[in-house]
């Protein structure tokens, strides 16, 4: 029952956050310099007369509070608005982009946590050794790298110079439609490798530092000493007892990583021509496509709230002590 109450409380909290994001985003877009449709205003194909008619057709000639009320009312009906630039529903555009961002995000999370946990664990098992110091330097460098720079370097080296990986995109548009399902999956993986590495490696640096600290702390605790005294092999002590306990703080990182993952995805998706929500958002901002920007912000807030809820759940599952709280 307590769990259900907590779930409902979290849901209500999430809804409040989403409403706040909608309101703040709408207000910020109104305050931003420039105006909607300014992006097409200078097109030689769009005269002032056409722009003015466009403004009327999109309802932008109404007072701001009327536009806001209409926007919220439509949102509650499941209508996220019509993109100014793409001339299609915002939800359709987001639905096209979201799977790409999810795939990229999951792959990057895998790189981030698999790499970071492995790196941090190796360091913790040989603290203050030369290897520990070297890996510390590596994780620090990874942590410090600007994600767009790393992406460009990966593209130049592994895409252009070595030719091992394709230079951007989700699939090879020339061959992909003709491939078998397995061939299509391989094609996608081939294209996914570099962007996932770029996005994941940067986070792996900080994950490694968390994991190192957590494992070092656990290795010094009484239950580990007891396990060793009971004659368990060092391998069993580390893999069965120390590592699971040390993963708890790292698990909470999953939820905390999501916002940075989303912001990193904006850059990686642009560099790798990866058609996800990040690139959609950048384009929408550049084109002053207000409904699309607001939709992307709402989607991001929902994703962050959901990810934190999932991290909470994972933490409760991993740590029996929290279930009773």
């Amino acid at each position: 029952m307590a769990g259900f109450t907590a779930f409902v409380r979290r849901l209500a909290h999430g809804a409040l956050v989403a409403f706040a994001v909608v309101t703040v985003t709408f207000a910020l877009l109104q305050l931003a310099p420039g105006e909607p449709l300014a992006g097409v205003a200078e097109s030689p194909y769009a005269s002032p007369e056409v722009i003015e008619q466009m403004r009327r057709n999109f309802g932008l000639d109404r007072p701001i509070h009327v536009q806001y009320a209409r926007y919220v009312r439509n949102l509650l009906r499941g209508d996220w608005g019509m993109s100014f630039a793409q001339r299609r529903p915002v939800l359709d555009a987001l639905a096209d982009a979201l799977p790409n961002t999810v795939v990229l995000g999951l792959a990057a999370l895998l790189v981030n946590f698999a790499g970071g946990i492995a790196l941090g664990s190796i360091q913790a098992l040989r603290p203050r050794s030369a290897l520990d110091k070297a890996l510390s330097a590596v994780s620090l460098v990874l942590y410090s790298l600007p994600v767009f720079w790393l992406g460009l370097m990966l593209l130049l080296v592994f895409g252009q110079v070595l030719g091992w990986f394709p230079v951007g995109g989700v699939v090879d548009p020339v061959t992909h439609p003709s491939l078998s399902p397995i061939g299509q999956a391989l094609d996608r993986l081939h294209h996914l490798a570099l962007p996932a590495l770029a996005l994941g490696l940067v986070g792996a640096g900080s994950t490694a530092r968390y994991q190192r600290a957590a494992l070092l702390e656990v290795l010094g605790q009484d239950f580990i000493r007891t396990a060793r005294a009971a004659g368990l092999s060092e391998r069993t002590v580390v893999l069965r007892h120390a590592l699971p306990a040390a993963l708890l703080p790292t698990i909470t990182l999953v939820g905390l990583t999501l916002p940075s993952l989303l912001s990193g995805a904006v850059l990686v998706e642009t560099v790798f021509s990866w058609p996800g929500v990040g690139r959609l958002t950048v384009n929408a901002v550049l084109q002053r496509d207000y409904p699309m920007v607001a939709g992307a912000a709402l989607l991001a807030s929902i994703a962050v709230v959901a990810a934190n809820a999932v991290a909470d759940l994972a933490y409760r599952l991993a740590d029996p002590r929290t279930r009773e709280a």
Partner: protein, 553 residues
């Protein structure tokens, strides 16, 4: 010691190899073959009346045809040089009517014939405010469109003027009535047709994978004849640097706008690529605001003075600017026109670079003192102003810095303010600037000069509020002139007039540079819309790539 063999390119490219093997490949290259992978932005929508962005226009121009298209000389007077597309012939002998005979071979990509009813429907859609087509204001000369029979259509015009044929055929792509006539007009712009169009052009729409690519295949039964390429893939790129990397790596064939000189240089160094002039052509200028920023009712304290404008123009060495920013990639501006416009002539000259004359003119207007920064003074007023530049344009940002230094040497202070493109547009539109580093791409008609610089354009595209009755009169005469020689003479007189008045510094005129794979032949870029001629390209059979021989499912 045995070394583990290094992972080579082919091993790691296994996926690609598998992919290619999985596709059907023709043994040779008979008939129509060849794939062009083009890099560009994502189209906005593929419904011609509301397509505003270059990428969308580029793709729709391959899918949809006009009644007739402009010729390679881009002449806009009469029907000289125009080539038939959906119309087999036309009659313009009546000064207020044009009769078109449609080509009976013309078919929609779903097999239906193109009829006169399609033409009537198209112009009704284009002129409907509920659809709000970009070209709507350009079609106001049309009074009525009538189908005389299934293949003959009559346009009745409100007035007779030399560009009436150009205006009638150039702006509208014919739409399929049988597909669209049941859709409410207010929903046409956002209807799924715009993302899965049925056209009548040399290429047929296959698929649009959002954010990734648009695929077209040749319509071998096209009324224009079979295209030289079997397939066109318009691949969406997020960043020009990445696009150039794809081009250099051999993953793509054409990038119509390479952008900054560094990108051009990378392409120039790639042996399998060549550089070509692309579209659209445009001219860039530093426009002075003759009215007070944000208040068109008052004169600007500096730029209302013609001599000050002339002096500033003459203080700029535009040849040096062009050389510093573009090398040989652009021409020095000669007036408010791109060098590809049919009225262009090398005989047109803007004010020359003459810093001594600039100083003399400024002194004659009372700018004689200097402050400790070396800026000229008149009383307590410094000769300084702000130039707004859009961050999106690297050439303009670079040119602004060079010009800033040239003006400083004469004692003119110019603050360069780089701003976001949307804000830049808004400040131009509302007149909230001293000077703007603007650029105009031009459709083939010189009439856009009137919109941008004539009195009629004030409050619209004439951001600096330049107003000259003499210029307006010359423009009017030029537009009314029926033969090219007279029209050209009037246009030149108008341009000489505006150059003397110096409402702007005409900095450069250029066409974007494109990178193109060398295996393509008959490569032609029309200055107004390069994809218009893509259907005439073909691949040299001796130099095909595997992707040229793939047959899409």
């Amino acid at each position: 010691m045995h070394r583990k063999p290094a992972m080579n390119r082919s091993a790691l490219s296994l996926v690609v190899t598998l992919a290619i093997l999985a596709c059907r490949e023709t043994p040779a290259c008979p008939g129509v073959c060849g794939t062009a992978v083009i890099l560009g932005a994502e189209p906005d929508v593929l419904f011609p009346p509301v397509t505003h962005q270059d990428a969308g226009i580029g793709v729709t121009d391959m899918i949809f045809l006009k009644l007739a298209d402009i010729g390679p000389a881009l002449n806009t007077l009469g029907d000289s040089g125009f080539v038939p597309q959906l119309a087999r012939s036309w009659d313009i002998s009546d000064p207020t009517a044009i009769r078109f005979s449609l080509d009976p071979r013309a078919r929609w990509h779903d097999g239906q014939p193109v009829t006169a009813q399609d033409v009537v429907f198209t112009f009704d859609v284009y002129r409907d405010t509920l659809v709000n087509a970009g070209a709507r204001p350009l079609l106001q000369h049309i009074e009525e469109v009538t189908a005389l029979d299934s293949l003959t259509v009559l346009f009745r015009l409100r007035r007779n003027y030399p560009e009436r044929f150009f205006d009638t055929v150039y702006h509208a792509r014919i739409l399929p009535r049988h597909v669209l006539d049941t859709i409410p007009r207010q929903r046409l712009a956002s209807h799924p047709f715009g993302r899965s169009p049925i056209g009548n052009g040399p290429f047929r729409f296959v698929r649009w994978v959002p954010g990734q690519y648009v695929e077209l295949v040749a319509d071998t039964g096209s009324v224009l004849g079979a295209p030289g390429l079997a397939r066109v893939i318009w691949r969406v790129i997020g960043d020009p640097v990445v696009g150039v990397t794809q081009l250099v790596a051999g993953e793509a064939d054409v990038m119509p706008t390479l952008g900054v000189p560094e990108n051009v240089e990378r392409v120039r160094r790639a042996p399998h690529l060549r550089i070509a002039e692309s579209s659209p052509s445009f001219y860039a200028y530093i426009g002075f605001n003759l009215r007070y920023p944000g208040d068109r009712g008052r004169a600007h304290p500096l730029f209302a003075d013609r001599d000050v404008r002339r002096a500033i123009s003459m203080a700029v060495d535009r040849a040096a600017v062009v050389q510093a920013v573009f090398g040989d990639g652009a021409r020095v501006g000669t007036g408010p026109l791109a060098h590809t416009l049919w009225i262009y002539s090398d005989s047109l000259k803007a004010l020359p670079f003459d810093s001594a004359e600039a100083r003399r003119l400024l002194a004659s207007r009372g700018w004689v003192g200097r402050d400790r920064d070396g800026v000229l003074l008149r009383g307590a007023n410094r000769l300084e102003f702000e130039l707004i530049v859009p961050t999106i344009s690297q050439p303009r940002r670079r040119a602004a810095v060079v010009i800033q230094e040239q003006l400083r040497r004469v004692g003119i202070g110019m603050a360069v303010v780089e701003i976001d493109f949307n804000l830049f547009n808004e400040r131009q539109r509302t007149g909230r600037f001293d000077a703007t580093f603007g650029a105009w791409s031009q459709d083939p008609s010189p009439r856009s000069i009137e919109q941008s610089w004539g009195s009629a354009g004030i409050g619209g595209f004439n951001h600096g509020s330049y107003s000259s009755p003499a210029f307006d009169r010359l423009i009017h005469d030029a537009i009314a002139a029926g033969d090219p020689g007279t029209a050209r003479r009037h246009w030149h007189a108008a341009i000489r007039q505006i150059n003397e008045d110096a409402p702007a510094i005409w900095v450069y005129s250029t066409r974007p540079l494109a990178g193109v794979h060398r295996r393509f032949q008959n490569v032609a870029f029309r200055a107004d819309q390069w994809t218009s001629l893509l259907w005439t390209w073909h691949v040299n059979p001796d130099s095909t790539l595997p992707r040229d021989r793939l047959i899409a499912p």
